[in-house]
Symmetry: C2
Subunit: 274 residues, 2 copies
């Protein structure tokens, strides 16, 4: 059979099974060899990646433990600082000095509370605002105990968080305002202490909701002379310092009887509260 005849025959009857086998057989073997090589490489890659996975998992675990340990040390440090302040208080010569140390101690407790709330918020470096305010108010209440004063919480925003950088001065201010109110605003032992956290009725130009926190009394109020005394007190100086840092305001509102109610308020924009 001539070459051209063979070509024609192949064209007509197709490559017979035998011819197909003859040409494909080594190709298939080569194919298998290549696939096996690829498999070996892929298995090696999987092993390398699995090792890397384990390594990274260990690193994550290590860093989590480290973070826990740091938290533990921070809490420990707060305790040591409290002890140091107690020592200072115990060595005080005047009752006013002891009170000064106790108040400083309470302020540091407030900072410890913020750290504690941060750890419990589930979002690191964030604090749930309403929860924090409740804790601060409850701590202040237990250190004063004025059963005639009713405390109203008006805070339905349970999913509103802010960063600890804001929460720390905020908590210090609220603690100070509540202490002031308990000490001065309810001279007849009755009245209401209000803590509010609510969205503003109007949105800003970008369509974002801002929130306002208000702490104020509706008691009989303080007199003009008490107001002047307060303005020289450490607590009010601290409130004013911290307000200028975070943009809050501390004011006296004249009452019908010529006295003053105290109000602290701060507006939180969407960058501060989310």
């Amino acid at each position: 059979m001539s070459n051209s005849n063979k070509k024609i025959r192949d064209k007509i009857i197709g490559l017979g099974e035998s011819s197909a086998r003859k040409s494909y057989y080594p190709q298939l073997l080569e194919n298998i060899r290549e696939l096996k090589e690829e498999r070996a490489k892929l298995i090696e890659t999987v092993h390398t990646l699995e090792e890397r996975e384990k390594e990274l998992e260990n690193l994550v675990e290590e860093k989590s433990i480290l973070l826990e340990e740091v938290h533990h040390r921070v809490k420990n440090n707060f305790q040591i600082i409290s002890s140091l302040l107690n020592l200072g208080r115990n060595s005080a010569l005047l009752p006013s000095e002891a009170a000064n140390f106790s108040e400083t101690g309470r302020r540091i407790q407030v900072m410890a509370q913020v750290y504690e709330r941060m750890l419990h918020s589930g979002i690191l470096l964030k604090v749930q605002i309403a929860e924090l305010l409740r804790y601060i108010a409850a701590d202040a209440y237990y250190s004063v105990k004025k059963p005639g004063v009713r405390i109203n919480y008006r805070m339905n925003e349970n999913q509103l968080f802010c960063g600890v950088d804001l929460a720390t001065p905020l908590a210090l201010i609220v603690n100070e305002v509540i202490s002031l109110l308990y000490s001065y605003a309810f001279s007849d032992g009755s009245g209401e202490l209000n803590i509010e956290l609510a969205p503003d009725t109007a949105m800003d130009s970008a369509g974002n909701t801002a929130y306002t926190i208000r702490v104020f009394d509706t008691g009989p109020g303080i007199t003009e002379s008490t107001k002047e005394v307060l303005e020289k007190q450490l607590g009010v100086i601290l409130i004013r310092n911290l307000c200028s840092q975070i943009g809050g305001s501390y004011n006296y509102i004249p009452t019908a009887s010529g006295n003053y109610n105290i109000i602290f308020s701060i507006s939180l924009n969407k960058d501060q509260a989310a």
Copy 2:
């Protein structure tokens, strides 16, 4: 050809190439199909692992940032606490009250210094002991300034670390001892304040080296009556409290002239210093 004849023929001449091809051909194709399936699965596994790797790398990065942020907040908290103590000092009515606040503030600075040294040690939760002691001594020196007093550091163990849980009380004690020495031990304005950290000459039964820290003066010493005054002071009360926590000792050593030198010492075993 009968069946038995064919078997004999096959046995003698072996399976011809054609027969081999006939029986292997589908097997090879099946082999290739399986290998390709395996390859697809392996590639999928590699993709999954690569995604997991990226995820874990992000998590490690996230936790590192978090840790940095927590450190930043801790430092920030120390600053706020210092401000609170400054406020307390500024509202003091008596010089002794102001001094009491200043001392408490310095103690908290010491704690902040321990935290700072921890961050710089390169080993989280660990502090390089000699470096820490130098910093504490330098800080104490700058707050007192007694140029006539020479301070001797005898610490060649530059690779000795301890945990922050030990470092914090240790630093507080050393700060307190140095302050006491500066205030009382160099009544004529001269003398030597020695800070030593050295391996013990004898090893323990397990063949481990223990280390001893010593802080002491070789000045003219304090009198019996000063010693009695000191024992009632806040600083010494604090030293004794902290010594009982970490196992150090604070003592008075009689001098030839009938006075007393002050010595603090603590022995660190291999679990404490490594």
